[in-house]
């Protein structure tokens, strides 16, 4: 049933990569609804997930329209297996850092740190992509940049509050940062070979261009939050853009896809 989207359209491949980041991040964030430390936070993370889901829908609809034969956003969301997704590994891992813990366990420190990394990256990415040569990607980016700006603000406020908070909150946020930081590098890794021409054509943003502004922005927030910036791992951790994923993505997709796969073609 799940046939890989043809690589015939590099633009579709790029839209799928960015769309999968948003889709998987949205699904993960949704796990906080009714489980966050405050009711306002249930609402906030739910809203952020909704923004990301909207961005994913625009990107995957566009990607699907470029494929031959065309595929709908639902085809791409519900009928691809993990190996066909192109999201970075940053967004797919569970919310717990303890490998022995139940994967359903959630650490709010991980949530705020990961959201800060993701939103800072997406903000720099979309800020550039809105001036890109592809009008649809530029339009999606011009909307998204304003939304992720709010996500970044929100994550920043929490990282400042918890980083420069109690001994316990500081310890947990630092621990989360140490675990999340290595996954940042994948965001700056070169695009896969079949997409690399898009950078020269100004359709895609060169990931390497984002390293300096993203790192500078994060470093400023982390310093103010009295957190220590971890060492650069020196190599990309994770190869999600090539379809290599952690087992956590399989479990996430089971949740995301179960209804569509149990009732193929159902409408309501």
């Amino acid at each position: 049933m799940s046939t890989a989207p043809a690589a015939a359209s590099p633009v579709a491949g790029y839209a799928i990569a960015l769309g999968d980041d948003a889709l998987v991040a949205a699904q993960r964030l949704g796990e906080w609804i009714a489980a966050a430390p405050q009711i306002e936070e249930d609402v906030a993370l739910g809203n952020i997930a909704l923004d990301l889901l909207g961005q994913a829908r625009s990107l995957l609809s566009y990607a699907g329209s470029l494929l031959e034969p065309p595929r709908s956003e639902d085809d791409l969301a519900y009928w691809r297996d993990a190996g066909e997704l192109r999201n970075v590994q940053l967004v797919e891992r569970p919310w717990t850092l303890d490998p022995a813990a139940d994967p359903e366990d959630r650490d709010f420190g991980v949530a705020v740190v990961r959201l800060l990394l993701l939103a800072t990256y997406q903000h720099e990415l979309y800020r550039r992509l809105q001036d890109g040569a592809d009008p649809t990607l530029a339009a999606v980016a011009a909307k998204a940049v304003k939304e992720v700006d709010y996500h970044r603000d929100h994550a920043t406020l929490w990282v400042l509050r918890l980083g420069d908070g109690t001994e316990e909150s500081h310890r947990r946020v630092q621990h989360a940062l140490d675990a999340e930081w290595p996954y940042l590098e994948e965001l700056f890794a070169p695009l896969p070979d079949d997409l690399s021409d898009l950078v020269g054509a100004r359709v895609a943003v060169d990931p390497a261009e984002l390293r300096e502004p993203v790192t500078a922005s994060l470093t400023a927030v982390l310093a103010e939050a009295t957190l220590i910036v971890p060492h650069d791992p020196g190599h990309a951790v994770g190869a999600g853009r090539r379809g290599e994923h952690t087992p956590a993505l399989h479990r996430l997709l089971e949740d995301l896809q179960v209804v569509a796969r149990a009732h193929p073609g159902a409408t309501w």
Binding site: N47, I48, L50, L52, G54, R57, K143, D149
Partner: protein, 168 residues
């Protein structure tokens, strides 16, 4: 004989559609309705734009626009969704602002959207007046409220919580 709608009449029909989440304001008041075109053959094209990428009201708005035209006797209607240019709260009309406030939602401060981009996270926020008592002594509880387009505030004068249509 087929009667062709005048463009202004078509606009009026579309502009009468209320926002499904905040029914005191129309899609025109909110700046969601971007364009109405009537072809020489009478085909009507209504162009709308979402407030936020994930706004779940778009499908309802599309259906409501089609229903409004059908009630007026026109079925050759298409609703087109565009993303560019990106919606901004600066497109909310004066009427829209007044109605939001009467409904208990503090409208966005005019021009605040333009000044937002690149702002520091804990920057000064322009005073948002409490829609209940009018006091400027208010504070934000959360960037995110009951819908994507609103943030959650509380008035320190009358102690009432309220929604604010946040600048975008």
């Amino acid at each position: 004989m087929v009667t062709t709608l005048a463009r202004q009449d078509a606009w009026t029909i579309a502009a009468g559609v209320a926002d499904p989440e905040i029914p005191v304001v129309s899609i025109e008041d909110l700046g969601i309705l971007r364009e109405v075109r009537v072809g020489p053959d009478g085909h009507v094209q209504v162009v709308i734009t979402p407030t936020y990428s994930g706004c779940p009201a778009m499908e309802a708005i599309r259906a409501d626009v089609l229903a409004a035209f059908e009630r007026a006797g026109h079925t050759d209607v298409e609703v087109q969704l565009v993303l560019a240019p990106a919606w901004t709260t600066d497109w909310i009309t004066e009427t829209g602002r007044r109605r939001l406030e009467e409904f208990g939602i503090a409208p966005p401060v005019r021009g605040a959207a333009a000044g937002r981009e690149g702002s520091a996270p804990v920057s000064l926020t322009l005073a948002v007046r409490c829609p209940q008592c009018g006091s400027p002594e208010t504070r934000e509880l959360s960037h995110f409220g009951s819908t994507a387009c609103k943030s959650l505030w509380v008035c320190t004068a009358c102690k009432e919580p309220f929604d604010h249509f946040k600048p975008l």
